[in-house]
Each structure stands twice: as C-alpha cells, then as structure tokens.
Amino acid sequence: MDFKNGEDHHVPKKIFSKQRKAIQNISADSKISLGIEPTKQIVICNSGLSLGLLEEDVINIFSPYGPIEAVVMLPDKTYCFMAFHSKENALQAYQSLHGKYNFPRSENLMVLAFADEVPKVTNPWATLPRDGPPGLIVLEDFITSDEEEILVKLLSWDDPIQGQQLKQRQVQHFGFEFRYGSNDVDRQKPLAQKIPDQCDFLQNRLKKRGFSKWNFYPDQLTVNRYLPGQGIPPHVDTHSVFEDPILSLSMLSDVVMDFKDASGHKIPVFLPRRSLTVMSGESRFGWTHGIASRMHDVICTDDKKGLTLLPREERVSYTFRLLRSKKECFCSYAWLCDNQKQNLYQQQLDAIQLEKQYVREVYEEISSHFSETRHTPWPNIVEFCKTFKTGQILLDVGCGNGKYFGNQAENVSLFEIGLDASAHLADMCTKRGVEVLTGNCLNLPFRSSIADGVLCIAVIHHLATHERRRRAVQEIARVLCKGGRALIYVWARDQRLQDKMSTYLKQNRKNRQNTAIQSAFKGDKNNSVTGSGTSQSENNLCTSADSKSCEFTGSLPLPVHVNRTNFKHSDILVPWKLKEKHRQESNEGEQQTFYRYYHVFEEDELTRMCIEIPQIQVLETKYDQGNWSVLLRKLP
C-alpha cells in the first residue's frame, strides 16, 4: 500500500506539527527510532500512564484493527507503545485513529507515529505460571458448576447475615469477623455463623488434588462479591493473624489478580472461574495481592501470542483462612509483616527513650565532673588530627568538652567544629574558645561533602539499635568530602583482647591512693577512651576483674555493668557515681549514681557496619586499649 502522511487531508494541520515535535522528543527520550514510514509498532505520542491512559484502554482502542502483540506502558511517561502482528493492521489503525480519535474527557486528538521497535519490558504474561510468585498455586476446575451454584446461592446479598458494603465490594464473614480498621479478628468473639457445611468437601478435594500434606481446617471464611469495575487494593493478609496457606475459590467469572514483591515487581495472575488459589509460603507472606478496579482485564489470547481484553463480570470469592493460635509471625518478609513492624516501631521508640534517659540526660547531669576526667587526648587520635593540612575542615562529632581541638600539626591552621548533644559540654567548649554547636549525630546539621576529616570518639556506642548506629556512620560519610577521612572509636565488649588488658581493666587493680577522688568514682570514666594517661582517679571499690561483671536490678531496663570488669552483655548500663561538689542539688550524705547506656561492640561489628555503607572504604580496623577503632575514607 502506498501511503504518504501528507496526502491524508482529513488530519488537521496542527496535528502534523505536533507529530513532528513528538517524533523528535520521544526518539530522544526513548532512544527508539520513530517516523511516519509504516511498521507494525505504533507509538501513541500524546497519552500514557502519566496521563491516565491504561493498558486496557490501548487494547480497547486498537484491537478492532487486528490482533495485538504487545502493549508497553512506561511509568511516568506521556507516551506509550503498542505492536500489532502485522504492518497492515498498524497502518489501518494509524489511518483511522491518527488525528481523528478523540481521547475521552479531553479535547485532544490522538497523535501517532510508527516505531522501529517497542521498548524492552518483559511481558509478564510470557513468564507465567512457572515464574509466578513462589508458593502460589492455581488449581483449575477445582469445583463443578453444580457446586459453584450451591455455594453462590448460599448467600443473600440483599440481606447479608454478617456482611458489609465496603467502598469497592461486598463482604460477608463466617467463623470470625475480620475487622477492617485493625486488620485482625477478635479471637474472643467467634461468630454464630460458622463456615457453611457445604464447604466441607474442601479437605477431600485438596487431598485428591495432591495436597494431602496440608491438614488445613480453616476456621474463618470471608466471602467477597465484586461487580464489574470493583476491586480490592493491594494488601497482604495480616501475617500475625492467619496461618499459611490461604485458600480462595473464584466463582461466577474469571479475574486477574496482581501480585507485587518488595522490589515492586508485578506479576498478573489469571484466576479462572471455579479455580482454587492456594497462597502459601513466599506468595502468602512476601507479596501483596490485589484486584484493580476496572471494567476489563488484560489477558493473554488463547494462542498465547497476543493480548486481549476480558470484560469483568460479577465475581464471588470464598477465602478460607485459619487463625493462628498466637498473634505472632517470624517470617523473613519484615516489610509486609505487621508483627515485625510493630516490633521495629517499638524498638525505635524504646531506643529514643533509652538514649534520652540514659545518655543525654545523664551527660547533662555529670558534664562538669565528666569533663574533669577528660584531659589527655589519645595518641592514635592525636596522630590522626596531625594528618590534616592548613585550610581543611575537621568535625568532631560528639566532641564532649572539646579536648581533641587544637591537636593539629605544628604551623597547620585547621577549621575545627565540634558538635555535642549536651548543652553543658558545648558551653565548656565555647569557654575554651572553640567553635561548637549542639546537635545529634543521627542528623548532622551540615551540608554534604564539607568535611576533610571527622572524629567520632566514644559516641556511637551510646546509640541503642544497630540501625541507629549505622545511620550515624552514614551521616559521617555524607558530610565527608570525597577522599575525606573519619576516625571512629567505640567501646569493645572484649576488654582483654590479644592477652593485653585494656587500660580500663588495669585501672581496677591499680592505685588505691587518691582517696579524695575515690569516693566520687565507683567507676567508669570511660578512660579507655580518655586515654591511658588519666589513671590517677581510680575506682577500687568494686570486685576484681574475674568475678561477676554485671547485675540486674529491678528498676533498670538493662543489666548494670560492674566497673573495671569484662563485659558480659552487649547492651548495658554503666554506673557513674557523681562527685559531691558537682552535684546539681545537694542531697547530703548520699552519693548519686547515674547510669549511662552503652552498646559494646564485638570484634568486626564496627567494621561490618561501615562496610554496609556504599560510599566509604575501611582503611584500617584496630583494637586500641579496649576500644574498636576504624579509619574510613570516603571514595573519591
């Protein structure tokens, strides 16, 4: 057929210029060569997913012109592609639709062009059912037409017994009512309406079809009724409420159910009338499923070569579920797991509370005393400070009283900024004349890539979850410039690595003199971090390093560490006895004890955490006097 675009006098003029521009733009955007020379592929230039055009609309509009091979809808695009089996069909469609078809609810006429190919996206129908969601089984012809009729007629939708009109469908419950607000059932309130006896054949039928391994006696049934255009939003059946598997009978008509995994990968699954869908394992816990609210489903043609539309009809489904005996779930699909999300949420709240009460508030109380115990900076840390050059920026995250300021090499002029969560400690820094601000290490108030160096000494072990500790390191990575380096110190759980007792332990046995200060210290001054030079103010009241190293007390949430001993737990409270003269309010004769929260690190724990963060490289891991340290570099 001889065809020249310009000869078609029915097409309005402005459509030509629209087409010309669209061919330029879409070719550039999609990297697909477009033109007006007929091919079997068509690009719809002025409508797509981002303008509300759906796959089914495309099939609806184009299928009168011949069998459709593919429809490719691109996310966030204002254009889309489709392909016929033959160029002739494509040309017919072009001549009938280009500049003539009026989009519904719009003034716009359809602009088309031909494409050399369609973008490569996998046709989900091509992979089914073998590569469907793992654990999903669709047993076709599970019930007979007679059984279907019996089950459908069991229910009256005009006067439902235990039913409800939801926004998009009608439901009735048996055994237990499913509560849509909380997505659970009230175990204490079984319904008078049990699962109908007419469903009893289910067990034997399952066995006959080779599923004898399941001794599945459901005690909850939800019946859904969908009219054309209705659906159910993507969801996962509440993990902690229902056992594995979930069974669902489809009746009166076929439908397409969309499954989606964590990455957003979508697989449409065809559920024929009178089939039983078994959702087990991963498909039950790790995928959402839903039915789009629409009038047609896109399905494979019978010859499996093309796509076609299936009009929706009334559909009734029976979903059988078994309540868990205990409201819990330990699946490995946390992103869809109500139980684990609740736990994570609780953990997060607990962590915030713990850090507030056992870190931040304590440092405010003990700050001046604490500051007195921190004099001598540690050699390795000073050495790190000396590697920076004039005009570089060094951040000290959790700077305390600012004792690592001013350790640069001779004749080097750095810009140092300290950050601490304690206002008292920050005040001490300004008294020293150093630049400081109050802030939290989880949300550094700096723009990205501004620091040549970051120090973070004895800070991250005060964060109460792995996620929060990781986030603190990630923040450090963010503010480092490319090639910038950070030094991080945390307390090690093992205080006697390499048969070399850390300073922290040695201090327990040493000097019993210095009684003036002795009463103030039952303990930890975090000297393992402060440095070996500060052993003058020793605790010696507690037991030797080998006896019990922690105790539980009724009122505290974590075991309390006995100072100057090895750590028995990873998450502990370390007592701090406040020296009399530093007490905020005098409570005569009573020594006040504060408890600070610590997470003490296992060997490699800090390193492994740092490796999780993509932009950084661990240059060195060291065990340094009871601490783990890492030297990091942000990749250039």
Binding site: P234, T238, T288, I352, T390, G391, S413, F415, L437, G439
Partner: protein
C-alpha cells in the same frame, strides 16, 4: 558562631525539607574578635565555601566590611580580598540570634555563641507502626 560555620550548616535533615540551605541568619548580638590572619588558610577555604551564601549572610547582619559580591579572579594572591574574606569568615562572631530554615521556617536559636541544631525525632523521620495494608 562564626560565619564559616554558618556556611556549612544546613537544615536538610528536617522532614519535608529538600535543600535547607543557606539558613537565614538573624543576629541580635555580634562580637568582632581578632583572629590571626593566615593567607594560605583563607585561599584554601575559598573553593570549599559557598561564597554567595557567605556574602548574603554578612550583608544581612551588616558586616560586609568591603567584601566583594563575588570571588575575584586572582584570589590566591589578592591580599586585600583574602583579608576581607578572613574577617568575615572568622572574626565576626554571632553571640545570639537564630538560624532559620529557608523552607520550613523552623528556627534554631543561637545562645552564648552556640547554635542549637538539636531536632526532635518526630521532626526528622516518619515513625510509623502500622503496615499500611488492609485486607
């Protein structure tokens, strides 16, 4: 707080804030201090800082002291320019006032020379316990 510090601060961590830079500076008490001048320090600092943010901040508190509105071409050898930058970067100290997020308007007070950049957990991330699905 020195204007060099102001130059690196950002409120991007706040929920719903996409850039959070530069923070609007409002100073109620400013002191000018003497800091040893080091030309090498200043000329190396210039490529790191956001010069227009520095200029705007100095101007907003009336402490430009002859700072030009753009980096001069020969900045590495232009002593007058380096000294002007040195003064604005290091010698102008904000004792009190506040910093304001340009997008959300959240204010961070500066007291006794210390900006309080502490934020509550609920200002920075969604704490969400529900699973968002229903069946």
């Amino acid at each position: 707080m020195k204007l060099l510090t102001h130059n690196v601060l950002s409120s991007k961590c706040l929920k719903g804030v996409s850039v959070g830079y530069p923070l609007r500076l409002n100073a109620t008490d400013i002191k000018v201090v003497d800091v040893d001048y080091n030309s090498e320090f200043v000329s190396r600092m210039i490529p790191k800082i956001n010069y227009s943010a520095l200029y705007d901040a100095a101007q907003s508190i009336g402490h430009l002291n002859g700072l030009p509105d753009a980096v001069v071409d020969d900045f590495e050898s232009n002593e007058d320019f380096l000294k002007a930058v040195h003064h604005v970067l290091l010698e102008v100290d904000i004792v009190s006032g506040d910093l304001e997020c340009p997008e959300s308007g959240r204010k961070f007070p500066i007291t006794r020379g210390i900006p309080n950049m502490l934020v509550n957990e609920n200002e920075v991330n969604e704490i969400n316990g529900s699973n968002g699905y229903n069946n």
